[in-house]
Symmetry: C2
Subunit: 521 residues, 2 copies
C-alpha cells in the first residue's frame, strides 16, 4: 500500500501540494526526515529507476538458460559500478558453470556495524503458454492494474509520473529482481540525496535460489571472511496481504518428491483394454487421495510429530498479525480454508504437503482414448522448525510403501514388473532446505524493526515464519550469521507461476524500506 504522499504525487498533484504534504507528513507521522528525503528523490527519479528495471526484466533468468543468467550478472555488475559500490566481484563455486554470486560493499568511516543485503537474480522456470496472451515472461509490460482485474496496457508516461497501482509483468518482476533493484536504488538514493549510510553495507546477489541454492553453502564457506556481518537482510517475498509492511524472522523449509506410477509398458486403446489393464492415473490418484483426510490434515504417519511449538512471544506476535483470511478467500474465490478452523498464519506454522502438478495422458483437445503408461506427480513438502527435510521425505515414502507400492529409484525392469503389482518411481529432491527462525530480541534485530517503522504510519507486521522458503539455515550453519527477512513485493504478485508482476508502489516503498535499514547506526 502506498503512503498518501506517493499516491498524491502519482495522481499528478502540483509541486505545491507535494511540499505541503511533505511538511504535513513530518508533523503527524512516525516517518523520519531521511525517509521523506528518499521518497522525494524516488518520485523525481522514477523514470530512471523504471527504465533500468524494465531493461533488467527483459533478460531471461531461468536455470535452463545459462547465457541469459550471464547477461543478468553483467547487468547487475554494471548497476553496482555505476553507483560507485566498491569491490564489485563475482563469488564462484568450485564447479564450472554455476551462476555466480555478485558481491560488492560500501565501507563507512566510523561505522560499527555491518549489514549485508541479500536478493537473488534467478527466476522460476517459465511456461510461456500459460501466461496471459498479451504477456511474455521476458518482455516486461506495464498495466494500469492487475490484468485479472481488467488492467489495461500503459506506455511509459511522458511526464515521468508513475501511478503506484500500475504493475510491471515479467518473470522475476517481484521474485526477486525487485529485491535487487530496491537494494541498489536505496543506496543510490542515499548517495544522491547527500545522506550517509549509518553502517557498513555489503551486497550479495545469488543466482541459484530457485534451484534450492545448491552451491550457497560452498560459497559462504569459501568467502567466509569477506561475508562477515552483524545481520543479513533478506529482501525476498511479499509484504503482508493487508498491504502493511512486514518483517519475518524465519522461513518455512522445503523439499520435494517426484513420483511416477507405472502400468502397461505401452499405451493401450481404452476400448480394447479398458477395465482389464490397470490405469496408472487411477493408481496415482488413489495414492494421493490417501495422503490427506477430509479435514485437510495430512494422514501420513508422524507428519506433524517433529514440529517445535511456537514460544509465547512468537504466539503473541502471531496473534497481532492482521487477519487476512476473509479478504484472501474473497480475493481468491475460495469458499473455505483447506483445514477447517486453521487460519493462514497458523497454517504457515505447520508442515504442508502440496500437489505442485500431476500429469498422465492428455486432456482437452489433445485427449485420446488411451490408457496411459505412467502417471507423474510432484509433491512439495513445506517444513517448519523441528522438521528435517530428509526425515520428512522418508515419512512420505514409508506411507507410499504402506499403500502396497514397490518403491524404486529407476524405471521398472521386466523382472520387477513381473513381481510387483503396484510400482512407483520415487525421486526425492536432493536440495532440501530446513526451516529457520531468528530471535526477535537481538539488539540489531530491534534496530531493524525500529528502522522499518520510520518508513510508515501503519503497523509493521512481525511474522515468526514466512511461507516462502529461503536457504536461511545455511547462513547460520556456515557463517554463524543471523538473518531477518524484509520483503517488499505485493502479495498478489503470482511469483512462481504465470503472470508474475510487481505493483510499482511496492517497488518504490521497498526502496524506502531498504534505505531506512542502510541508515541504521
Amino acid at each position: 500500500m502506498m503512503t498518501k504522499l506517493l499516491q498524491f504525487h502519482f495522481m499528478r498533484n502540483s509541486c505545491i501540494l507535494l511540499l505541503f504534504t511533505l511538511l504535513l507528513n513530518q508533523l503527524v507521522s512516525a516517518q523520519s526526515a531521511e525517509v521523506l528525503t528518499i521518497r522525494k528523490h524516488g518520485a523525481k527519479n522514477a523514470d530512471v529507476v523504471m527504465k533500468e528495471f524494465t531493461e533488467f526484466l527483459s533478460l531471461p533468468n531461468v536455470a535452463a538458460d545459462p547465457a541469459g543468467l550471464q547477461k543478468n550478472v553483467a547487468f547487475i555488475m554494471a548497476m553496482m559500478n555505476k553507483r560507485g559500490i566498491q569491490k564489485v566481484q563475482l563469488l564462484h563455486a568450485s564447479t564450472n558453470g554455476v551462476p555466480p554470486v555478485i558481491y560488492g560493499e560500501v565501507m563507512v568511516p566510523g561505522a560499527k556495524q555491518t549489514l549485508i543485503f541479500y536478493a537473488h537474480y534467478d527466476g522460476q522456470p517459465v511456461n510461456p503458454e500459460q501466461w496471459a496472451k498479451e504477456l511474455s515472461p521476458f518482455e516486461p509490460k506495464m498495466f494500469s492494474k492487475a490484468i485479472d482485474k481488467a488492467g489495461a496496457p500503459i506506455a511509459s508516461p511522458a511526464d515521468g509520473i508513475y501511478n503506484s497501482e500500475w504493475r510491471i509483468y515479467a518473470r522475476g518482476a517481484s521474485d526477486d529482481k525487485a529485491g535487487v533493484a530496491a537494494i541498489l536504488n536505496a543506496y543510490d538514493a542515499i548517495k544522491k540525496t547527500g545522506l550517509t549510510p549509518g553502517c557498513n553495507l555489503k551486497f550479495f546477489f545469488e543466482g541459484e535460489e530457485e534451484m534450492g541454492s545448491p552451491h550457497l553453502n560452498e560459497i559462504l564457506e569459501k568467502y567466509k571472511s569477506l561475508l562477515q556481518s552483524d545481520l543479513w537482510i533478506i529482501c525476498d517475498g511479499p509484504v503482508h496481504q493487508s498491504g502493511k509492511k512486514q518483517i519475518a524472522f524465519g522461513v518455512r523449509g522445503d523439499t520435494h518428491l517426484d513420483l511416477t506410477v507405472y502400468a502397461s509398458k505401452r499405451p493401450l486403446h481404452s476400448g480394447h483394454y479398458g477395465n482389464w489393464a490397470p490405469n496408472p492415473a487411477l493408481r496415482l490418484v488413489k495414492l494421493l487421495a490417501s495422503m490427506k483426510d477430509e479435514t485437510g490434515r495430512v494422514t501420513i504417519k508422524g507428519f506433524y510429530d517433529d514440529v517445535t511449538p511456537l514460544t509465547a512471544f512468537e504466539k503473541k506476535s502471531l496473534n497481532e498479525v492482521p487477519s487476512v483470511d476473509e479478504q484472501m478467500k474473497n480475493e481468491l474465490g475460495i469458499f473455505a480454508e483447506e483445514m477447517k478452523g486453521t487460519t493462514l498464519s497458523e497454517a504457515i506454522n505447520l508442515p504442508s504437503l502440496n500437489i505442485n502438478g500431476i500429469l498422465s495422458g492428455n486432456v482437452g483437445k489433445m485427449a485420446s482414448n488411451q490408457i496411459p503408461t505412467q502417471a507423474t506427480t510432484v509433491l512439495d513438502l513445506r517444513l517448519v522448525l523441528g522438521n528435517d527435510w530428509q526425515r520428512q521425505q522418508q515419512k512420505v515414502i514409508v506411507h507410499i510403501k504402506s499403500q502396497g507400492f514397490f518403491v524404486t529409484g529407476n524405471e521398472p525392469t521386466d523382472a520387477e514388473r513381473a513381481k510387483y503389482e503396484k510400482i512407483i518411481k520415487v525421486i526425492p529432491g536432493e536440495d532440501g532446505v530446513n526451516a529457520q527462525r531468528t530471535s526477535m530480541d537481538l539488539p540489531i534485530v530491534q534496530k531493524v524493526i525500529a528502522a522499518v517503522k520510520t518508513t510508515t504510519n501503519e503497523q509493521v507486521v512481525l511474522q515468526p515464519t514466512m511461507g516462502g522458503t529461503l536457504p536461511l539455515f545455511v547462513f547460520e550453519k556456515y557463517l554463524n550469521a543471523k538473518t531477518v527477512t524484509v520483503p517488499i513485493a505485493n502479495h498478489d504478485n503470482n511469483q512462481h507461476a504465470e503472470n508474475e508482476n510487481i505493483r510499482l508502489g511496492n517497488l518504490f516503498t521497498g526502496i524506502e524500506t531498504m534505505a531506512s535499514l542502510m541508515l541504521i547506526k
Copy 2:
C-alpha cells in the same frame, strides 16, 4: 501372424521354393486356390502397394487440419479411379467443411448380393513430442520390428521383398488407413489376377470416425438408396492378440466426460499458502479415487445395472476365444488384471471407466512450487449392449454430486465461488455411441465366417464384442443394415496413442482377408 508361404517368401526364398510351398499349401490347408492366387500377386506387387501406402501415410489426417484431410480425400479418390472403381464420388453432409465420405462401387453382372466395405481415413489427434524421437506422425518410417523391441530403421528394399515382421510407423498406419489400403488393394488384386468378385461391391470411406462420426447418421439417411447392401464389412481395429484372424459381431459403445475442478482464482505460492488454500488436484484425485474400489470395480451407483447379459451362444464363442491374458500381461509388463479374476474377454463385455488423462500444474522440469488454479481430467466410458450413453454419463454426474460437488457447465462465477466449497465443471461429450451386436446366425454372416476361414489354416476367432468403438448402431438405425467387423491390424499397433504402426504381415494378410470377402457368392 503370417502364413508360412508369405514368411518364406519374405525370407528371400527362391521361386522354386515358392511354387513348391504354394502346391503344398493347396494340398494340406483350408486355404482356397483364389486366396493363394491373391497371395502370390501380393508378394510380387509388394513394392507398388508399399509405395502407395507410404505416400498415403504422409498426408496428415487429423480433425484439426482440414486441408490435410482434403489431401487424403483426393488421394483416396485417385486410388479408386486408378483401380477402375465406378461412381467414385463424395458424400457430403449438409454442413460445410465436414470431411466427406468417399464412395465408389463395382457392379458385378449376375451377382445376387451386395457387400459394402467400410474404413475411415481420419486419425486420432497427435502430440508429436510424445512420439519416439526418431519418429514423426506424418513421416512414415519402416523398422525391422517394433521400436520398443529394438527395431532398427529399414530402407525400402531394392529387391522389393518385404519381411512380414517389418513395421511402418505413422498416425493412421493401422487405424485406419490400413483398412482403406487393404480394401482397395484386395479389389486390385482380384482384378489383376483375372478373378471376378462374387458379389456387388460398394466402398465407403469415412472422415470423421475419430470425432465420433457426428455426421454419419445424416449422410446415411441422405444417401440411403445408394448405400443399400446385404451387409456392411467394417475393416477397422486389430486382429486377435494371439495373431489369429478374428471376426467381431459387435462393438463397445463410448462416451466421455471432461471434468475441471476449481480452487483459487490465481496460482498461489505453495510456501505462502500451502496447507491453507485448497489444492484442486487434491480435490480431483479424491473424487476420482472414489469412483473405483480396490478390486477395480466401478463404485458409481448402478454402473453395471443396464447390461444385457450374453446369450448362451455368445458365451460359447467367448469361451472359445484363445486366452491371451498371460501373454498380454507379460508383453505389457502388467502383474495382474485390474479386476481380479476377470479375463480380458469378460472385461470387454462390461462397461468401463478409464482416466484418459489428468492434468494440473506442471511436472518434471516445468514443475514449480505452486498451488494450481484448476485440475482437469477426461473420463472415457465404454459401453456394452444395454447401456445408453447419456444414462451412463448421468450416473457419473450423480456420483460427483454425491461427493459434495457443485456441478456447473461453465467457469464458476464469483457468486458460485462464494457459495460452494467444491466446484466442478462437467462437460458431457455430445457424441456418444451406443454398443451394437449382430447375430452370428444370419446366412450372409455365415458366408463371411466361411470366407475368412479360406484364408488361414488357423482358428478364426469369433468375438461377440470388440473393444473398439465404431458407430455401428447408426447403420441399423438409419439403413436397417447389419454390420460385421473384420479387422486386420496387429494388436500392438499403438492406435490412438504415440508411435502408431502396422506390421507389414498384417497389411498383406489383410488384403487376402478383404479379397476373400469380395469373392463371396
